[in-house]
């Protein structure tokens, strides 16, 4: 009996908190994104509803809420209705282990890091279900892209999270924050932090990895057939909820969580989360979209070897200098970044120019292929 009461006193406030975090992110971030993107485009962005357009998200939400709930006739009805709910599982459950403030975690699991990764892989399910159940070819391609991309990028993400576990010596997120008392892990492992950001952006399907919902190719990708409140679920709650929990986990793992100058509190976590979300908005406004095979090649040929090497090096330093491994790790990691900045642009230029010449030579081949295609809408 006492265990049930114990469970309820933990569960109900935690549930409400997680829900409120997602709702707040679904209101704040779309607004921030549209205004900031507007400024980057040299225009104002939405500024009509309320002071400085602050009530725009509420107006949009109301509009989507009162729209008719349409299920396409050819869709798989139950899966179609279930998909948004499944996709909402990840942002809700990930927050369970996040240390919000020095004295509040919903549940301090001793396998928190594994839990974050495990729950994070859930998000692909909702998208895949949505893509398949819509019975739309664009949605299907979007869902398949999401599956390929999110599963591939989970590996470098996981390998980077293992590094944090190595540095901390524990899998609990509270001890991860505790271990960052003197220095944040982003300063010790900048390479790991950057890999976390890149792989995370790909996990979240944001620009430049927004292939599952590439609007110029797939109309709207996996959520093409969704409208009204279900679309709002995907476009606001799940997208930005995922961004929020990714930023929360990232702040906890690399930026010291609730730690900050002057006072340790949940406010610092919020500031770091907003900063990481702003970075996503900045990427959105700057980059074109990658192509699917470049995306996969980048994961398997660059990120995974790089994060494996990073993991091996960190592990080696921990074995060699068990007492003060932070300094050598930091030196190696920072010098990797420096080498990358110096050499990467010229290397990638050379690779691309070689590819261009190769494609120029191969152009004859595609010429032959054309004409053997079955083609023809009349045939």
């Amino acid at each position: 009996m006492s265990s049930i009461i114990d469970f309820l006193t933990n569960f109900i406030p935690g549930f409400i908190l997680a829900l409120m975090v997602i709702a707040a992110s679904a209101i704040v971030f779309p607004f921030l994104m549209r205004r900031l993107w507007g400024f980057i485009c040299d225009r104002l962005g939405p500024n009509r509803v309320g002071p400085e357009g602050l009530f725009q998200p509420f107006a949009d939400g109301l509009k989507l809420f009162i729209k008719e709930d349409v299920t396409p006739a050819q869709a798989h009805r139950w899966l179609f209705l279930l998909a948004p709910a499944v996709a909402l599982v990840t942002p809700m459950l990930t927050q369970v282990v996040i240390p919000f403030s020095p004295d509040y975690t919903i549940a301090d699991l001793n396998i928190g890091l594994i839990y974050v990764v495990a729950v994070g892989s859930f998000s692909v399910l909702g998208i895949l279900i949505a893509g398949w159940a819509s019975n739309n070819k664009y949605s299907l391609v979007g869902g398949l892209r999401a599956a390929a991309q999110m599963i591939s990028y989970e590996i470098p993400l996981l390998l980077t999270i293992i590094i944090v576990a190595l540095l901390t010596g524990s899998l609990s997120l509270n001890s991860v924050v505790g271990a960052q008392g003197s220095v944040w892990f982003a300063a010790v492992q900048p390479l790991g932090f950057i890999i976390y950001i890149i792989a995370g952006v790909a996990e979240l399907n944001r620009t430049p990895f927004d292939l599952p919902e590439a609007e110029s190719e797939l109309v709207s990708g996996y959520n093409t057939e969704y409208g009204g409140m279900r679309f709002a679920f995907f476009a606001a709650l799940i997208e930005w909820g995922n961004v929020t929990v990714w930023a929360m986990a990232g702040s906890t793992l690399f930026l010291g969580g609730w730690r900050g100058p002057f006072v340790d509190s949940a406010g610092w976590l919020a500031i770091k989360v907003v900063a990481m979300a702003l970075m996503i908005i900045w990427f959105f406004a700057t980059f074109p979209r990658l192509q699917i095979d470049q995306l996969m090649a980048f994961a398997w040929k660059v990120l995974i070897p790089l994060s494996l090497a990073n993991l091996a090096a960190t592990g080696l330093f921990i074995i060699i200098w068990p007492d003060n491994f932070l300094l050598p790790t930091a030196i190696v990691s920072w010098s990797c970044i420096a080498l990358f900045i110096i050499f990467f642009p010229s290397i990638i230029r050379r690779v691309l120019l070689n590819k261009r010449l190769k494609m120029l030579a191969e152009r004859r081949m595609t010429t032959i292929i054309h004409g053997t295609g079955k083609g023809g809408i009349t045939s």
């Binding site: 993107w37 398949l144 074109p288 192509q291 083609g375």
Partner: protein
């Protein structure tokens, strides 16, 4: 042997999958109006593409036969609505050639200035749409910001923002307003810095390079075979620009370069358009310096009756050679009018360029060709 195996390599017949037929358009975000593409897909791979035209057919050629020469003026700029001025120009050039008259010198200068301004805004849309197709959203808004400046100038001159109806047979409708020159000079001094701004955002981006280098290569011979013209052909290395080769209007007086590409891929086509914008600025600058006073219109009767005969005249539009062929039997109306649109040729290359590539490359290639359906479906 099936197409899939040819593309994927030999062997593994048990892996042969069913083709998916996907109708892209006519309502689709990246088909530039109402182009419909029937794609045969193997997963992400495009096996074959068939463009389906006709969703914007308005009977432009047939309607000309029931309108007087002046009445048709109001229609023709609606053909290719992003470069409407060139449509009018090509048409009046044909009618003037048929009648054997020449517009006054000042009118030709005005035509060149307005035409090059129109070329700039048309290339703006080409680059913005291309980047939108590649998934970059900000360049589109930047070019539309700068387009507004040109639109203000064009509105000042013609009273219209898109469908100008400003040309007349034997000149232009009315003279430039007094404040035009200052506004235009202000624009052309500011504009080169903005082109640099686009290049900073786009040209040096590794993702952009990886998407466009070597993609959608048009060989010079293919460009000739398919009748590709304009920046698409010049990117393939065809050194052909009607402004220089034919030297119509007052273009021979100006000093400008014709930017050429080497590889004929998406990147070269983009780069050619950027350079052409710079050259347009040069031409406008020289035209503003050397513009002379005088009448802007010939005194012609309101009802033009060209003598019987036929004539074809073309101008270099932002998309290539746009020509008007008129057959006159000496009456008030053309007996037959045929329009030659460059985009039509460009669309006929899409199946060849995209077979064997991915869906994402298809939209990149279509964007780089600068398609506009208004001219294709006449």
């Amino acid at each position: 042997m099936s197409t899939t195996e040819e593309l994927m390599g030999p062997g593994r017949p048990e892996l042969h999958l069913e083709e998916m037929v996907l109708n892209m358009g006519p309502q689709h975000p990246s088909t530039h109006g109402v182009l419909r593409l029937v794609l045969h897909l193997d997963g992400e791979l495009v096996i074959s593409v068939e463009p389906v035209l006709g969703y914007l057919h308005r009977g432009f050629e047939k309607l000309a036969e029931s309108r007087t020469y002046l009445q048709y003026m109001a229609m023709i700029s609606r053909l290719d609505y992003l470069s409407g001025f060139f449509m009018e120009w090509s048409y009046v050039r044909s009618v003037e050639a048929l009648m054997g008259v020449r517009a006054p010198k000042r009118a030709e200068y005005i035509r060149v200035i307005i035409g090059e301004l129109n070329r700039i805004i048309s290339h703006h849309v080409a680059i913005g749409d291309f980047m939108l197709n590649l998934g970059a959203v900000t360049p589109f808004f930047w070019v539309f910001r700068d387009r507004e400046d040109v639109y203000d100038l064009l509105e000042m001159v013609t009273g219209q923002r898109m469908m100008y109806n400003y040309m007349r047979v034997g000149g232009v409708r009315w003279d430039l307003p007094d404040e035009f020159e200052a506004g235009c000079r202000k624009f052309i001094t500011e504009f080169p810095a903005r082109i640099d701004e686009y290049e900073q955002l786009i040209t040096d981006n590794e993702i952009f390079l990886s998407r466009t280098l070597g993609m959608g290569i048009i060989k010079p011979k293919e460009a000739l075979d398919y009748g590709i013209s304009g920046p698409n052909a010049r990117a393939a290395g065809i050194d052909w620009d009607l402004r220089r080769e034919v030297g119509y209007s007052v273009y021979p007086e100006f000093d400008f370069d014709v930017p050429l590409g080497e590889h004929g891929d998406c990147f070269d086509r983009y780069k050619c358009r950027i350079e052409e914008m710079r050259q347009s600025v040069r031409i406008i600058e020289q035209a503003l310096d050397s513009i002379c006073d005088g009448p802007v219109n010939l005194k012609l009767p309101p009802m033009i009756r060209p003598p019987a005969g036929d004539v074809y005249r073309a101008v270099e539009t932002p998309r290539g050679e746009f020509g008007v062929y008129i057959v006159s039997n000496g009456g008030l109306r053309p007996w037959r009018l045929k329009l030659r649109d460059p985009t039509f040729s460009a669309i006929s290359m899409i199946p060849k360029l995209t077979a064997g590539n991915k869906i994402a490359d298809l939209v990149a290639i279509a964007g780089s060709l600068d398609l506009l359906m208004g001219g294709v479906d006449r």
